[in-house]
């Protein structure tokens, strides 16, 4: 792989990082701000899990697109991309809602399903929502997809994606300030929690189910 081949996806990732922030901010910001007793270590852990989830989704997509080779270019299909997004939103919405209502569900006196309890924990929520966000196919993502498809083999495809991904990471650095913010404004946790639930509901119903069922 040439230097240009390494730099191109890095630069593409960096130059389009704002788009990634656009997709990730509604999930990560309220989720992290709403965590109880969030210290820096826990914060980094959760961000790491979220980013790991996103990376997993990217690698998976990279492998599939790479394996499909140039065929992918012929089926460059915004309608399909949007449908994948709708499903991702539905799952992301469910994950955020479960995490948001975890205390209510598990403290309601009824026997809580162990699966729900495990799946709605903070680490799992971060991981799952990361995966969901990874499946949103945004315009720069398509550019990366088409480029990787053009490479034509799974390994090269995945490397391209990894580098693209690494290019977007600097935009997540400001999230390290969240624990300081939480200490400074303790009252904000409750608002963030409500925001998380609202966003979860919006993703599930308005960004997921309604378009999935009624729109192309």
């Amino acid at each position: 792989m040439t230097i240009a081949g390494i730099i191109e996806p890095l630069v593409l990732g960096f130059s389009t990082g704002t788009w990634c922030v656009m997709y990730c901010a509604p999930v990560l910001l309220p989720f992290l701000t709403a965590r109880e007793g969030l210290n820096q270590k826990r914060n980094i852990q959760l961000i790491g899990l979220f980013l790991g989830g996103r990376l997993f989704a990217y690698v998976l997509l990279g492998l599939c697109l790479g394996a499909a080779g140039l065929l992918v270019m012929e089926f460059f299909d915004p309608v399909l991309a949007r449908r994948i997004s709708y499903v991702a939103y539905i799952f992301c919405g469910i994950v955020l809602l479960l995490s948001g209502f975890r205390r209510h569900i598990c403290n309601s006196g009824k026997k809580c399903f162990s699966v729900v309890k495990a799946a709605s924990g903070d680490p799992m929520t971060a991981l799952f929502s990361g995966i969901c966000v990874g499946f949103h196919i945004c315009p720069p993502f398509w550019t990366a997809a088409v480029r990787s498809a053009a490479i034509g083999n799974p390994l090269a495809g995945s490397i391209y994606f990894l580098l693209f991904y690494a290019g977007t990471l600097p935009f997540f650095l400001p999230l390290l300030g969240i624990p300081f913010f939480n200490n400074r404004f303790p009252g904000f946790r409750k608002i963030a929690h409500m925001t998380q639930v609202l966003i979860g509901a919006y993703f599930l119903i308005f960004a997921g189910l309604i378009p999935f069922i009624f729109r192309r």
Binding site: F76, P78, R82
Partner: protein, 512 residues
């Protein structure tokens, strides 16, 4: 303590002044504040609502809606002048995931005409999307338009637009998609949206170049493929206006038919680079245009020196030879830049005859000229007063010469006063266009001064274009600079140096 107290009063008095005068004044001047703010921050609406980023704009000559050169409009009130005269063809970049639109994924093409027409246009846009030799070379319906296509670029899709509806059809006829056609700007503009949800059309998202053959005909339900018959030779193309690439003319392309050999005209496409950022300038090199600009500047300076000299002589001659003709002397004084003298004379003329259109026009200009030296607040009043005269002169003018004087005076004032304060640039453009049209009519009437009139018309069009530029209407500016350029192409270089200079400056700016 004392400091605190005075601090309190300073703050409180400031709030008092804001409450009593500040808020009202803010609203009174909000128009000016808003325009100034916009000139700095340059807000714009997201292009996904309005059609997507513009990939290319093509300018077609104004008034060339005569097909091969000899077609004239059907004698019917359904076809008002300019209704089939295509002036701009705009191709947008394809839009993905648009919000608030019936179509989330679409590709938009705009066609703009000089005249309004709700029902009566029949338009075909043949598009070569793959740049290869696959596709068709005949029109969608045989013998409908009466043309064929460049063998290097066979078309893959055709957009058939009749009035406010249309379809896209592939060359093999297998794909048919309904288009979304919206007529706006009093039926002068058609915005055509091509839905891109179909897999076969999605290659358009990644394609670099498309080539377009744009054909405008009249619509008739009885015509073949809806094309209004032009009732000439069976070989005459039924197209009133087409878009041609640089280096060709519509008349030359459309007249190339031969009844004996059964040849029909061959159309050539315009190429659209689908990503605006990829587009390369096709203009002259920088050095060439710099050199040309210097030449033109010299010629223009020489010419304006000559004009002033001639005007001064004319003024002296007028004073000497016809001291009774006050209007003649006043106009000559104005042209010779003897403004005080001119204003006195025009005042006297207006005293005698308050309904003199010419005197009103010049008086308006003179007040506006004086306002440039006045204090800003006084200047606002003076410009308002100047417009009272200028508007009146237009309502009073009743012959072409008076109309031209009135339009040019008001246009010049509108061009000169700051648009962010007065917002007159668009009106100015309208005035210059009106003056230009009057000059054109005079040129067409077959007098000896044809060349001078054409030059004056071109100059008026350039000034209109500058006004459009000031008002932020770049596309309109492009149309009229190009029109001026075309009109002066065959005229004397020195004589038209002023127009050529304005046009060159525009092209250099666009290039940059």
């Amino acid at each position: 303590m004392k400091n605190k107290k005075s601090g309190y009063y300073v703050h409180a008095v400031f709030i008092f002044l804001t409450a009593v005068f500040g808020i009202s004044s803010f609203f009174i001047f909000s128009d000016i504040i808003g325009r100034s703010l916009q000139s700095v921050i340059k807000l714009k609406t997201d292009p996904s609502f309005t059609g997507g980023r513009i990939a290319a704009v093509f300018y077609d000559p104004v008034g060339d809606d005569h097909g091969y050169g000899g077609l004239s409009y059907p004698v019917s009130k359904n076809f008002p002048a300019g209704a089939l005269d295509l002036v701009r063809y705009t191709v947008h970049e394809p839009v993905y995931n648009a919000q608030w639109s019936k179509l989330s994924d679409y590709w938009q093409i705009d066609l703009e005409f000089t005249g309004s027409l709700r029902y009566g246009r029949n338009i075909r846009i043949y598009i070569d999307a793959d740049g290869n030799s696959q596709g068709a070379l005949q029109t969608k319906t045989e013998f409908a338009e009466g043309v064929e296509f460049d063998a290097s670029f066979p078309w893959d899709y055709v957009l058939s637009i009749q009035n406010n509806e249309g379809t896209l059809q592939s060359a093999d006829g297998l794909l048919i998609v309904q288009l979304n056609v919206v007529q706006t700007d009093h039926y002068k503009k058609l915005a055509v949206r091509i839905p891109l949800e179909n897999h076969l059309l999605q290659t358009l998202y990644s394609i670099d170049v498309t080539r377009h053959y744009v054909c405008v005909g009249g619509w008739s339900p009885a015509g073949r493929d809806g094309f209004l018959d032009v009732s000439e030779s069976a070989f005459t193309p039924k197209l009133f206006d087409i878009l041609v690439p640089d280096g060709k003319t519509q008349e030359q392309v459309l007249s190339a038919w031969n009844e004996d050999t059964f040849e029909v005209p061959v159309l050539y496409p315009v190429a659209v680079i689908m990503k605006a950022s990829l587009e390369k300038s096709q203009l002259n090199s920088a050095e060439e245009s710099d050199e040309l600009q210097k030449k033109l500047e010299l010629a223009a300076a020489k010419k304006s020196g000559e004009i002033l000299k001639n005007s001064t002589e004319a003024y002296e001659a007028a004073v000497r030879e016809s001291p009774q003709d006050m209007e003649k002397i006043a106009v000559a004084a104005f042209n010779a830049e003897k403004y005080d003298e001119a204003e006195k004379l025009f005042d006297q003329l207006l005293m005698k005859n308050p309904d003199s259109a010419n005197a009103s026009a010049y008086k308006g200009s003179l007040i506006a000229l004086r306002s440039s030296k006045a204090s800003p607040l006084r200047a606002v009043d003076m410009v308002a007063e100047s417009y009272r005269y200028l508007d009146r002169s237009i309502s009073l003018a009743d012959d072409p010469a008076e109309l031209i004087t009135a339009f040019l005076n008001r246009g010049n004032v509108s061009k000169a006063v700051p648009d962010i304060v007065f917002g007159k640039a668009l009106q100015g453009a309208g005035d210059f266009l009106a003056a230009g049209n009057e000059f054109k009519k005079l040129a067409a009437s077959g007098t000896d001064d044809r060349k001078n009139y054409l030059n004056s018309a071109a100059s008026a069009y350039c000034n209109a274009a500058i006004c459009f530029e000031i008002a932020g209407k770049k596309e309109e500016a492009g149309t009229w600079f190009r029109e001026a350029d075309r009109m002066t192409a065959d005229l004397d270089f020195e004589e038209t140096s002023e127009v050529r200079l304005m046009v060159l400056r525009y092209f250099k700016k666009v290039d940059r």
